[in-house]
């Protein structure tokens, strides 16, 4: 089953769905003799359970180990010899993706290797334990010894009380130590199946050739039933949550989190405009109010596009000697103003142009295009939601911005985290 759907300019997406549930997206583009090949699985830390946090990410590491057909290390060695570029993987709260770019004559090779590790991985205890050590080390790098990492971990831990978004993707130290190869094996059998996966191929490829190759290597892999896993809904937050962290820093940091809906919600494009008005560029409201006035050295706003309701974060690095509390007062005042008087026509136009630029820039290379498609296809079941969301941002009006500011950025529903020097 296939369809050809316009992406942008001359670029088209060819979409296939195989009988075993595997999805395939192809964007031919012959501007360079290379292609990106990405495999996206619909599993992330959201699918974990308490006591086993970090398993999705730890398992991502295991995928680079041996299979029934290839010894440990062979996967990397073969791809590197073939001239692979950007071979990597990443795990988020909602998905796990395996990415690489290759010269155009390596399609058969990568399909063979990726399909093999989808079904033939060998998970043994010694390798699992060594990799756990590596992940503990990664955890030290990203969290324990990183002021921003500590703050990031804590803001989610404070803002969520029930939903799995409350724990960090990398997991907790004690959980990582507790898990063994049997846990990893079970996780693999539950989620690493064609019906949980989308393959995205962009670049110098022939559509029929890709479809045939993927069919050849993947069609024999059976679909598996999705494990029953009820994900707890996060109750509404009605009170301010606040925490102070003492860190090895010389300037204070402030992060404020507000709950926002999931990616498919109609308010998401409006929130995208809102966060751009707040902190997108140097003419944005918070930049002018905090950086231009000498209170902060930087300010940013970022709303997570997630499968389940997540957070919009406002992040501030203070200037030397300035206090987070002062910055917070200004932020709250700006939000209050925005929720009463709304943005100007100029602010709206500016935000739309910035989002427009970002949209095109996110489609600027084979790997970027593949990431865009993989992200939206995996989160929503249809990559066209990415295009639709962008188009909707271009129609947002001032009243809508006022309305979502009132709805989601209420002062009493915020979680605040302040990092102060020890």
């Amino acid at each position: 089953m296939s369809a050809s759907i316009p992406l942008v300019g001359e670029l088209k997406v060819h979409k296939f769905e195989f009988q075993n549930g595997l999805k395939l997206l192809i964007v031919p583009d012959r501007t360079s003799p290379t292609f990106a090949y990405q495999t996206w699985f619909r599993v992330g830390s959201r699918n974990e359970v308490p006591g086993y946090t970090g398993l999705a990410h730890l398992f991502e590491h295991m995928m680079f180990k041996g299979t029934k057909n290839f010894q440990d290390g062979e996967f990397d060695r073969i791809l590197e010899q073939a001239g692979v570029e950007g071979e990597n993987a990443f795990t988020s709260r909602d998905y796990t993706a395996y990415v690489q770019e290759l010269p155009r004559d390596k399609l058969d090779l990568i399909a063979k290797l990726e399909s093999d590790r989808m079904v033939n991985l060998l998970v043994n205890e010694p390798v699992f334990k060594t990799e756990t050590e590596v992940v503990q080390n990664e955890r030290k790098l990203r969290t324990e010894n990183s002021p921003d990492g500590m703050i990031y971990q804590e803001i989610f831990a404070s803002a969520f009380t029930k939903h799995p978004y409350r724990w960090p993707v990398i997991g907790y130290k004690e959980d990582l130590d507790r898990m063994n190869s049997k846990d990893a094996e079970l996780f693999y059998r539950s989620y690493y199946n064609p019906n949980h996966a989308t393959i995205v191929v962009t670049g110098d490829v022939d559509v029929d050739d890709v479809a045939e190759t993927v069919n050849k290597y993947y069609s024999q892999i059976p679909a598996q039933a999705s494990p029953a896993h009820k994900i707890a809904e996060e109750p509404e937050q009605n009170k301010i949550r606040s925490k102070k962290l003492k860190l090895n820093i010389q300037v204070e940091k402030l992060v404020i989190g507000y709950h926002i809906p999931n990616l498919l919600h109609v308010d998401l494009p409006i929130l995208d405009i809102l966060q751009t008005i707040l902190a997108g560029g140097k003419s944005s409201r918070l930049h002018k109010a905090l950086v231009e006035t000498g209170i902060a050295s930087s300010v940013g706003a970022y709303g997570f596009e997630s499968k389940d309701p997540s957070l919009l974060l406002i992040m501030v690095n203070l200037q030397k000697g300035k206090r987070a509390a002062a910055a917070e007062k200004i932020i709250l005042k700006e939000l209050e103003t925005l929720s009463t008087t709304g943005p100007s026509a100029q602010e709206l136009e500016t935000a739309k142009n910035r989002i427009s630029f970002d949209f095109y820039e996110n489609l600027n290379s084979n790997s970027d295009r593949a990431k865009f498609l993989g992200h939206y296809e995996t989160l929503t079941g249809d990559f066209q939601n990415g295009i639709k969301t962008f188009k909707l941002t271009q129609d947002v009006n001032a009243e809508q911005v006022t309305s979502v500011t009132k709805r989601y950025l209420q002062p009493t529903k915020r979680t605040r985290l302040v990092g102060v020097p020890k």
Binding site: T31, S283, N317, R354
Partner: protein, 452 residues
């Protein structure tokens, strides 16, 4: 240009143009109509190395000041105009270049180019903005010091190069920034932005004629250099002894380990053999020796790599990994032994064959997108490399033999005089580190992490 590439470019209607105006600004623009966006980089062929002593950070400061107002527009007006266009204009400062990096929707290109012109040729350098920028940059330096990896890289650089210009931090030092005066800034601006030092490189949905015309207009508005001489950087001296530094930061459960020495030029005869040798040792792949020994076999560090930094003169070669505090002495000793072994026995035939094939097969990724070709051109022009140097990798690597690699490694590496920097908690790692390295603890330099 090989036939395949020529055919590809013709078939895609991509026009790659490089032209040098008579005695004027060099301009290179590659038309790419795939998306409605344009990237424009205006580079000055002078960077941090030209910061005068006691004015460290001034080149970056001047670059940032350009974005803070012109004679006719306040900073707020500039910011607003750029944001309204959906444009990005940022400053990137390197050791030997200052780059204004611009990106804009193609429908707004004309207005954007006019604005860049105004920014570069009519900056206001208002005292009020100087005061604000000083505060922001000082906070930026303190922020850099709070992140272990950026802290370690900065301190290693300073420790390796000592007083040589390659040791100068991009953002500068707090005291120097606070002491900058308007006349220093104006003088440095006039020195940096002369016609001969400027270079335009870009790509995107625009014609090269348009960019050429704009670059000509810009060049006409800037004076020629009084001296007419390009920047000169001396060759950094190699260390004669092993130097060890702990950048002391409390409560570290993990350290950042950097080790290295003065490197090579990209135009040196030994460059390609050493590039291949480094690739096998720690060049960023999962199967390099460092990754296999330090991460895969021992689980000591999430990452372990080695690489060169390049300049007009030999700059640096360094390795880097981040073990737990308790594993630091053992893993550091082990990594030094690995460097020693690389020097004495070189690569095996198997490693050589694998690395050579891998690099040749992957060489196309060095220039497979317009953005990468723009970056290559910037590097070639600012480091005085031959045209299309980055495209010559595969051809040059094909000529390299294992004997070239191993003799170059033997001559290049100096394991006994490597400079080492460890970001960690001195009270827990100093003694075991000294014991493992067979040093007197007093020989280890301890620098507080708060000291810029």
């Amino acid at each position: 240009m090989n036939k395949r590439l020529l055919h590809l470019l013709i078939s895609l209607s991509i026009i790659l143009t490089f032209f040098k105006q008579a005695e004027a600004m060099e301009t290179s623009f590659e038309t790419d109509n795939t998306l409605p966006i344009v990237y424009i980089n205006l580079a000055v062929k002078a960077g941090t190395v030209s910061d005068p002593q006691n004015q460290l950070g001034i080149t970056n400061f001047v670059g940032e000041m350009l974005l803070r107002g012109t004679k006719n527009k306040t900073k707020a007006q500039l910011d607003l105009e750029l944001d309204q266009m959906g444009a990005r204009l940022e400053v990137e400062t390197r050791a030997e270049a200052l780059i204004l990096r611009g990106a804009v929707l193609s429908k707004k290109l004309d207005s954007f180019l006019n604005l860049v012109n105004e920014i570069v040729t009519e900056p206001s350098f208002l005292e009020t903005e100087i005061v604000k920028l000083k505060a922001e940059i000082v906070s930026g330096i303190l922020e850099e010091l709070s992140h272990d990896q950026s802290l370690g890289a900065r301190k290693f650089n300073e420790f390796l190069f000592q007083d040589h210009p390659y040791g100068k931090p991009i953002l500068g030092k707090v005291k120097d920034i606070q002491n900058l005066r308007l006349e220093d800034i104006l003088r440095h601006y006039q020195w940096l932005f002369t016609e001969e030092k400027l270079l335009v490189v870009g790509t995107g949905d625009a014609s090269e004629d348009l960019i050429e015309d704009w670059a000509e207009r810009l060049a006409d508005l800037r004076p020629s250099s009084q001296t007419g001489t390009p920047i000169k950087v001396s060759v950094p001296a190699a260390s004669k002894t092993r130097r060890v530094q702990i950048v002391d930061k409390p409560d570290r459960t993990q350290t950042q380990v950097f080790g290295g020495q003065v490197g090579v030029r990209m135009t040196d005869k030994s460059f390609f053999p050493l590039y291949l040798g480094n690739y096998a040792f720690g060049g960023g792949t999962f199967t390099s020796r460092m990754m296999l020994e330090i991460r895969v076999k021992r689980g000591w560090s999430y990452g372990a790599n080695s690489g060169f930094r390049f300049g007009l003169q030999p700059r640096l070669w360094r390795f880097h990994f981040f073990p737990t505090s308790e594993n630091t002495p053992e893993s550091l000793k082990f990594s030094l032994a690995m460097v020693e072994q690389l020097k004495t026995t070189g690569l095996t035939k198997k490693e050589f064959d694998f690395s050579k094939q891998s690099l040749i097969n992957g060489a196309g990724f060095m220039y497979d997108t317009p953005q990468k070709r723009v970056e290559n051109k910037l590097l070639e022009k600012t480091l005085e490399l031959p045209d299309n140097f980055m495209k010559s990798y595969a051809k040059n690597l094909k000529k390299v033999e294992i004997e070239d690699v191993n003799s170059s490694l033997k001559e290049f590496l100096n394991p006994d005089t490597l400079t080492l920097t460890v970001v960690g908690t001195a009270k827990t790692i100093k003694k075991p580190l000294a014991e493992t390295l067979s040093m007197n603890p007093d020989e280890i330099t301890v620098t507080p992490y708060t000291d810029d």
